[in-house]
């Protein structure tokens, strides 16, 4: 079993692992020559199934194993993120699977070059001491430092992962492009806080799960709201885009689109978001949603698919240089029943 790769996009890799880490501490990582899959299945809350093209992270990769050259690992995301962060300014970074004292580890080797006076570049508290910089003058040139980070991992057998399947869901009623996630996050965080504060001051019996109601229609509207005995607050976005369905991706082609739930939803509701009809609604856990929003740091386009009263599925498309290799993170957020 062999895995070795050189990383050319450390920033994206770090942001990816950091976003995933907010949902769960451990990821199932499936390494292949073409694709890298990251899957988080927490005991509660949102699942993530991410499929990345190798090129989006790695420059070169070699994967060899007895099981069709696929390696399955269980990786602690916090350690991986911490290790990758130290490679952000590296001149080169490679990662490989190896064994240390009988324990499999992912070893990240980072080469950094720092010019010798870089550490005195910050003038903090230094301006009043002209002699302080004299220590640097003696050493010249650049320093090359090699950093090795060892992340303990567990190798998963093909049998272990054979039972893990991506959730299946019915065709969505509404699909819509989300507004910038930072905007969405600051509002939903605020709402969640209000819901929690309300639960605290109100009757103590209310469960501590703050429920956000998220709804969208096929006329470019997204609505986020919280309701309680004391208040009802909502924010509505309009003029968002409802992407067209690709006939090649829908069962039954053109006919399938005509029968598609979203086509029927198009007949209902209005573009100003004031109509009561045409909304597909889900009730989600505010805390969990806050964790999902963490993916915004990757800066991808996000399409939300609403299955009314059932589930919310987010597709996060990573921005990539080559349009042909697409990397997608799929978030499965389930809805509470009313």
């Amino acid at each position: 079993m062999r895995f070795k790769a050189s990383i050319h996009n450390v920033a994206t890799f770090t942001k990816l692992t950091a976003s995933l880490n907010s949902l769960g501490p451990l990821a199932w990582v499936k390494l292949g020559e073409e694709q890298i899959c990251f899957t988080i299945i927490p005991e509660q809350g949102t699942q993530v199934w991410a499929v990345l093209s190798v090129d989006s992270i790695f420059e070169t990769i070699s994967v060899q194993s007895a099981a069709h050259n696929v390696i399955n690992l269980e990786v602690p995301l916090a350690s991986l993120t911490r290790a990758l962060k130290s490679a952000l300014n590296a001149t080169s970074a490679t990662i490989r699977l190896t064994k240390k004292d009988g324990v499999p580890v992912l070893a990240l080797t980072i080469v950094t070059t720092t010019s010798s006076n870089a550490y005195s570049a910050f003038p903090a508290n230094n301006d009043n001491r002209p002699d302080a910089s004299s220590a640097d003058d003696s050493s010249g040139g650049s320093r090359e430092t090699i950093v090795t980070q060892e992340i303990p991992v567990k190798v998963l057998s093909p049998d272990t992962v054979a039972g893990l399947h991506e959730p299946r869901c019915r065709e969505p009623d509404v699909h819509i492009m989300l507004p910038p996630l930072m905007q969405l996050k600051s509002i939903s965080d605020r709402f969640t806080k209000l819901a929690l504060a309300d639960a605290k001051t109100g009757s103590g019996s209310v469960a501590s799960k703050p429920r956000l109601e998220v709804a969208a229609n096929m006329h470019g509207c997204l609505r986020m709201s919280i309701q309680s005995d004391a208040m009802s607050i909502s924010s509505v976005w309009t003029d968002l885009i409802n992407p067209d369905l690709d006939p090649n991706e829908v069962d039954g082609g053109e006919a399938g689109i005509a029968d598609h739930p979203s086509t029927r939803m198009k007949l209902l509701g209005t573009a100003d978001g004031r109509s009561k009809e045409g909304w597909a609604t889900v009730r989600i856990d505010g805390r969990d949603w806050g964790k999902v929003m963490s993916v915004g740091r990757l800066g991808g386009r996000v399409v939300a698919c609403f299955c009314h009263e059932h589930a919310l599925i987010l597709y996060v498309y990573l921005p990539s240089e080559h349009s042909d290799d697409e990397s997608v993170l799929t978030y499965y957020v389930s809805s509470y029943s009313a």
């Binding site: 005195s120 090359e144 950093v147 600051s186 963490s294």
Partner: protein
């Protein structure tokens, strides 16, 4: 009755702040020893495996310094101990600010009021601020005997010196929650700093194991490197971080002196009348290092000194002044604890205590603004901690970075925000949306 008065410039006062932050990572009390010509702050951790001494030169560090101990003649001293937190609430950050913003001072005057017949003995700090405001703090102190660790640099044949800024870069690679630091002098012209944690778990827990980080540095990057090849020496990574972060505030070189594992190691640095010395307990496989014969008299010397790293005598470099000092008193139990040869690779006794403390609590903020911004951006994306107390108020600061302050204001588009600010058109929050439509904000 002791006479102790001194005055600090804002720069020196802010250095005291940095020193206290550092000493606070070793113990929650700091011991003070004032002599005629210098003032020393010391800290000893609870397991007595790390001792820190910061001596401030009376002439160089202070703008004025006067100390006349009540007894003991020229070698007399005034000693006491205080809570680090109490001192830190007086010596706050930002005492020195060239722009004279909030918190900046003009000078700091300290005196000790000790009356033998009265109960009120106080350590009085007067912060003379810029607008004629004088803040006076009266702190209580405890009269204690101050001990110093002995360290004989003649025996410590292994030495290196490296700019603190470079070492600080290295410690930033270290993972959180690691416990040990192995400093290894490799044979191929490299020195390896390895942060790790000893195996405590196995099986399923293996994934919770902290990162193992090894930083390999060319010995040519050191200002000076003279270490026996192949020698491993192991110290606590938390102590090392505390030392390096403080050394970096002074932008000086960090010097290390050590002989072999299980013998004490000393870090030293300083500038402008401030000298810091940290004497740390080490562990490691002392049999593994190729032994170079040490001259007999020095070996004997090292026996004496290293057996009592926390004992009560003067430091060796000032031995000539010891005549007036009381003879060293040393508890037998303590000697045993500090001086015994420990099992190779075993955990120093500090670990259990240190694990309980919050490792991040007193760390100074990173000076690098870029990194800070990166972290702020990171935390903006992190899931919100809903249990955190929050207050809603006016943002009077000039920073209007949307990603840093996720307030209501930020939910608008960027263009509308700048419009509002540029035109200075203050919009009452009670206005209806319809009234605003023609202002072109939406």
């Amino acid at each position: 009755m002791v006479v102790l008065n001194f005055t600090l410039t804002p720069e020196s006062a802010s250095k005291i702040h940095d020193v206290l932050i550092c000493l606070g990572k070793f113990n929650d009390t700091v011991a003070i020893e004032a002599r005629r010509e210098r003032f020393t702050l010391t800290g000893l951790n609870s397991s007595k495996s790390a001792y820190a001494a910061v001596s401030l030169d009376g002439k160089q560090f202070f703008s004025s310094y006067e100390c006349i101990p009540s007894h003991g003649g020229p070698d007399g001293r005034f000693t006491c101990s205080m809570y680090t937190k109490a001192l830190l609430s007086v010596f706050k950050g930002r005492l020195y600010d060239p722009l004279g913003r909030d918190g900046a001072i003009d000078r700091c005057e300290v005196s000790v009021q000790e009356r033998e017949n009265e109960a009120q003995c106080r350590f009085i700090v007067k912060m003379v601020c810029n607008q004629g405001v004088i803040k006076t703090y009266k702190l209580t102190y405890e009269a204690v005997d101050v001990m110093h660790a002995l360290f004989d640099r003649n025996v410590a044949k292994n030495r290196w010196s490296l700019h603190s800024g470079a070492v600080k870069e290295y410690i930033e690679y270290f993972g959180t929650k690691t416990e040990m630091l192995d400093i290894f002098a490799g044979e191929e012209g490299r020195c390896v700093f390895k942060s790790y944690t000893e195996k405590i778990t196995n099986g399923k827990e293996i994934l919770k194991h902290p990162l193992v980080t090894a930083v390999a540095v060319n010995t040519s990057d050191f200002e000076d490197f003279d270490v026996q090849p192949g020698l491993h020496i192991i110290i606590s990574v938390k102590d090392f971080k505390a030392i390096v972060i403080h050394a970096d505030t002074l932008k000086t070189s960090l010097k290390a002196y050590y002989s072999q594992p299980t013998r004490p190691l000393q870090f030293s640095y300083g500038c402008d009348g401030l000298v810091c010395e940290f004497t740390l307990m080490t562990s490691g496989d002392y049999t593994a290092a190729p032994t170079t014969p040490t001259p007999a008299p020095q070996a004997l010397n090292s026996q004496q000194t290293s057996r009592a790293p926390s004992a009560a005598t003067e430091r060796t470099d000032t031995r000539s002044m010891r005549s007036g000092m009381p003879p060293p008193t040393e508890a037998a139990s303590r000697r045993d604890r500090a001086g015994r040869l420990r099992h190779p690779g075993s955990r120093p006794p500090t670990q259990s205590q240190q694990a309980q403390q919050d490792p991040e609590s007193l760390f100074v903020p990173d000076p690098s603004e870029a990194r800070q911004r990166e972290e702020e951006e990171d935390s903006a994306w992190a899931p919100l901690d809903y249990d955190k107390e929050e207050t809603l108020g006016w943002d009077a600061s000039a920073d209007h970075d949307a990603s840093v302050f996720p307030t209501f204001r930020d939910s608008g588009s960027g263009a509308s925000r700048t419009n509002t600010m540029d035109s200075n058109d203050v919009i009452e929050p009670t206005q209806r949306v319809s009234q605003l439509k023609d202002l072109g904000l939406w």
